[in-house]
């Protein structure tokens, strides 16, 4: 079994799977159960200032998007930061950390955007023995209207300012959690770096309305006939999160900023993808909320088997492996030609590839009277839609054409050399090829 030991900005954990700051980490009881189940660490649900805690709605807090068989694909929430007293949370954090010294204990914080509140709370957190803090600059609902959460995270200057205060008032490592509700995630990441952050974590949840009650004409989740936007998470947001992680990981000026990857991690594979795109570890919430803490066992065994298979001795050897292959469209090889190929032994003749191609793409799949579906290479642009809509795994594949062959669609020889748009003759601003 591969060594899954993780060391993220000096915070050690037995594996790179942390629970994100969210309902599963709101109190001692849950976190103890999580550690017993095998989670490597937790980010304790966001603490606010001392005094009367926030209150939550008493109606539904979550809305959901489902796939077939009510498989939960996306979850949105309008829950706020912890609604339990600060001192209770601090006592519990201390107790749990004392009993589980090998697990990562990071505490999420959100206090008003002034130096004093930060200066007051940080020593209290340090006193618990926690390993680090995460600054919640991402929460998109409820707290943002009070000048906190994503209201800070959407203004890079505030991020830098607050991060600087925090670094000034604590010796603990500082992770800045970023909101995806911005246009260019590199700007807030750069601000965090400028403020002295030890790492960034992303993504927080995405502004969302999951659905509309068509009888009440109210957004879901509906509270007494009204709804407010919530924060979207779960498998549906993974592609957005992966892109944002990669944007930071491949930016030359941010390459040295460690990333804690968050957003729809549901299986070991999702985690491995985040790691490959540059995340040093991952944080999980929705998958645990859907299936319970036990899922970490599959994540541990799956990642371990994968690393053994690839001959990777440590998690760090996986981190960033895919980053060099993330590029811009203009650098993609236009001389690479592939064609869809349908495996007739696996085909169940549903015809979805045909409908998709015939109705919405390039008319590149033929259908015989006895329901044999075949790719017409003369028309196939290798768009991949047939692969995407096929219900059978690996039934349709994209096969690269060998250089020297003639692409029947274009009548041109498949060139062996790499050539991209920057040198393409159709590009008015192309630079000379030679």
């Amino acid at each position: 079994m591969a060594n899954l030991q993780s060391n993220f900005i000096g915070i050690k954990s037995p594996n790179p799977f942390w629970l994100a700051s969210a309902p599963p980490t709101d109190k001692e009881y849950n976190v103890r159960r999580a550690f017993e189940a095998g989670w490597g660490g937790v980010v304790w649900k966001t603490l606010g200032e001392a005094g009367p805690p926030v209150v939550n709605v008493n109606g539904p807090r979550y809305g959901a998007i489902y796939g077939a068989d009510r498989r939960l694909l996306g979850l949105n929430n309008i829950e706020l930061i912890t609604d339990r007293p600060l001192e209770v949370n601090l006592q519990e954090i201390k107790a749990v950390k004392r009993d589980y010294p090998d697990r990562a204990m990071v505490v999420s914080l959100m206090v008003p955007c002034e130096e004093d509140p930060w200066a007051r709370i940080l020593p209290l957190v340090e006193e618990t023995g926690a390993d680090g803090v995460e600054l919640n600059f991402g929460c998109p609902h409820g707290m943002s209207e009070r000048g906190m959460g994503s209201a800070v995270g959407q203004v890079p200057e505030y991020i830098e300012m607050v991060t600087r205060w925090v670094k000034k008032h604590t010796r603990m490592p500082v992770i800045v959690k970023l909101t995806p509700n911005i246009t260019d995630v590199r700007k807030p990441a750069a601000a965090a770096k400028a403020g002295g952050a030890d790492a960034v974590s992303l993504i927080n949840t995405i502004n969302s309305i999951t659905s509309v009650d068509l009888d009440l004409f109210s957004p879901e989740p509906t509270i007494d006939g009204k709804g407010a936007h919530g924060g979207y998470c779960g498998p549906a947001v993974k592609p957005i999160a992966l892109n944002m992680v990669a944007e930071i990981a491949r930016d030359p000026s941010l390459r040295d900023v460690p990333i804690s990857g968050i957003g729809g991690v549901t299986t070991w594979k999702d985690a491995a993808e985040f790691l490959a795109l540059g995340a040093g570890n991952v944080q999980v919430c929705t998958a645990a909320m859907t299936y319970g803490f036990k899922i970490v066992q599959e994540m541990i065994s799956g990642l371990s088997d994968y690393m053994d298979d690839k001959g990777l001795a440590s998690v760090d050897e996986l981190v960033g492996r895919a980053v060099p292959n993330v590029t811009d469209w203009q650098y993609l090889n236009l001389n690479y030609v592939s064609k869809a190929k349908i495996n007739q032994d696996l085909c169940i003749s549903c015809g979805r590839c045909y409908a998709a191609c015939e109705d919405t793409s390039h008319q590149a799949i033929s259908m015989s009277d006895d329901r044999v579906f075949e790719v017409i290479d003369d028309e196939c642009v290798a768009c991949n839609l047939c692969v995407n809509v096929c219900p059978v795994e690996n039934c349709i594949t994209m096969e690269a054409m060998e250089p020297g062959l003639i692409d029947p669609r274009t009548g041109k020889v498949v060139e062996p050399d790499y050539a991209n748009w920057t040198t393409h003759p159709n590009n008015p601003s192309a630079t000379a090829a030679e």
């Binding site: 077939a68 068989d69 009510r70 169940i348 003749s349 549903c350 015809g351 979805r352 045909y354 409908a355 015939e358 259908m367 329901r371 219900p391 059978v392």
Partner: protein, 440 residues
């Protein structure tokens, strides 16, 4: 309960009331809403779906399943019923394992087709239980059509014609409409009076007058109908039964399976229905299986289904054969009856073993039999009918017979399997052709 399964002879009341009630309950209980959604989620919404091709009535199955999956079962029902007005009954009695579900790509993918039949029932029940009839009549055309036989073919034809604005008079020899749906199908396939409920629901279209107790030949003649109506549709099914021409074939205890099933379907008290201790059903079709299984369910101790060829040649589907076996029916194959023995009432039946090409082997076997049910095929009854072909009314195109102005469909007409769903399709298509002919 004075009798038991062990009581010799033909006797009623072999089981207690609870057993009858359990035995004749729904063979496939209705899907609940959760089960329906889970089942509907499995449909791939195939292009030019093979299930549609396999359906004799061409129901747009992927569309109706998607309508169920998106929470609109009544819209699903309308999709079904617009192609097949007896979609509710077909959902119950269709041999889906040899039609839509056999063609389902998930049968090929995983050996587990989408539950098309049960989903169809979910949708049609949902609509019909609310009493909603989703179709309305076109303006009355003034044209009149006589329909002979108010079974699946006749009612399907009548409904479509009425919907198109024609006035229909449907004649049926029996006291109730529904044909084999009411008299000829195993009770556990359509319990709780569904057949009559469906007829009542179908008639909500209006414009259909039912004339009960009027048999073609005896009470009305084809010439009379031709002169009184603008068109005639013949859908009276097969009223005759093949005889068992063997020694002792007329002994007491020998009867027709269709009558046995009809009596059972009309019985108000199953405990009053007599059934043998040792029942032998001769035949290999759906009627034979329905009779054999129901004999067993009525409390017969030993039920044997005797068929002259191998199991692969039986008209009853593999599902039906397995159902019979699971209920404890013994299936004997490659046997032909040679004689029935007994003093007055039958006591034993003697078979000869035959090869697949029906050559006698000379070896015989005798088994106890105090009740013998004949299910060896039905025949068309009546004189003065249009030209026949293979013992049935010859039809061309959409049910056109040799007589101008007379159409035919269902079991009495040539072509097509003797299935409810086929009869519905033929009745519907004949109606469209009659309409075109009348309005042309």
């Amino acid at each position: 309960m004075t009798q038991s399964p062990f009581s010799p002879g033909v006797a009623a009341g072999r089981l207690d009331d609870a057993a009858y009630s359990e035995n004749f309950s729904d063979l496939h209980p209705a899907l609940d809403p959760h089960e329906a959604l889970v089942a509907a989620d499995r449909c791939y919404f195939c292009h030019d779906a093979p299930c549609i091709t396999a359906c004799p009535t061409d129901i747009d199955i992927p569309l109706f399943i998607r309508q169920i999956a998106t929470g609109t079962p009544d819209a699903a029902a309308k999709t079904i019923l617009s192609q097949n007005i007896m979609g509710g009954m077909c959902a119950r009695v269709c041999p889906t394992e040899t039609l839509c579900e056999e063609a389902c790509v998930r049968e090929m993918a995983e050996g587990k087709p989408v539950k098309i039949g049960q989903l169809q029932r979910y949708a049609t029940d949902h609509l019909q239980e609310q009493g909603i009839h989703p179709f309305s009549r076109a303006a009355v055309t003034g044209k009149t059509v006589a329909v002979v036989g108010a079974g699946p073919a006749g009612l399907s034809c009548a409904h479509r014609l009425a919907m198109l604005g024609h006035d229909v008079t449907a004649y049926d020899a029996r006291a109730k409409a529904g044909g084999l749906n009411e008299y000829g199908i195993a009770a556990y396939k359509t319990p709780e009076g569904f057949a009559q409920a469906e007829v009542d629901w179908l008639l909500q279209i209006g414009g259909i007058t039912l004339e009960h107790g009027k048999a073609l030949g005896a009470d009305v003649s084809l010439d009379q109908l031709k002169s009184e109506f603008d068109a005639v549709f013949l859908g009276m099914g097969l009223g005759g039964v093949n005889a068992l021409n063997v020694e002792g074939g007329d002994k007491a205890g020998v009867s027709d399976a269709v009558d046995f099933i009809a009596d059972l379907r009309q019985a108000s008290d199953l405990g009053a229905l007599p059934v043998g201790r040792d029942v032998v059903v001769i035949g290999g079709g759906m009627t034979a299986v329905d009779a054999a299984v129901q004999s067993k369910l009525l409390g017969a101790l030993n039920v044997t289904l005797a068929y002259r060829r191998g199991r692969d040649r039986m008209n009853a589907s593999v599902f039906e054969q397995d159902l019979a076996a699971s209920k404890g029916v013994r299936i004997m194959t490659n046997v032909v009856p040679k004689a029935l023995h007994g003093n007055g009432a039958v006591q034993e039946i003697e078979f000869e073993y035959v090869t697949d090409d029906m050559t006698g082997t000379g070896e015989t076997v005798r088994i106890p039999a105090d009740q013998v049910l004949r299910a060896i095929g039905q025949t068309l009854k009546g004189d003065g009918l249009p030209d026949l072909e293979g013992g049935k009314i010859a039809v061309a195109g959409a049910g056109r017979t040799s007589v101008t102005g007379v159409w035919a469909g269902g079991d009495c007409a040539s072509g097509g399997d003797d299935l409810t769903v086929t009869a519905v399709a033929e009745g519907r298509d004949a109606a469209m052709d009659i309409h075109a002919s009348l309005m042309g």
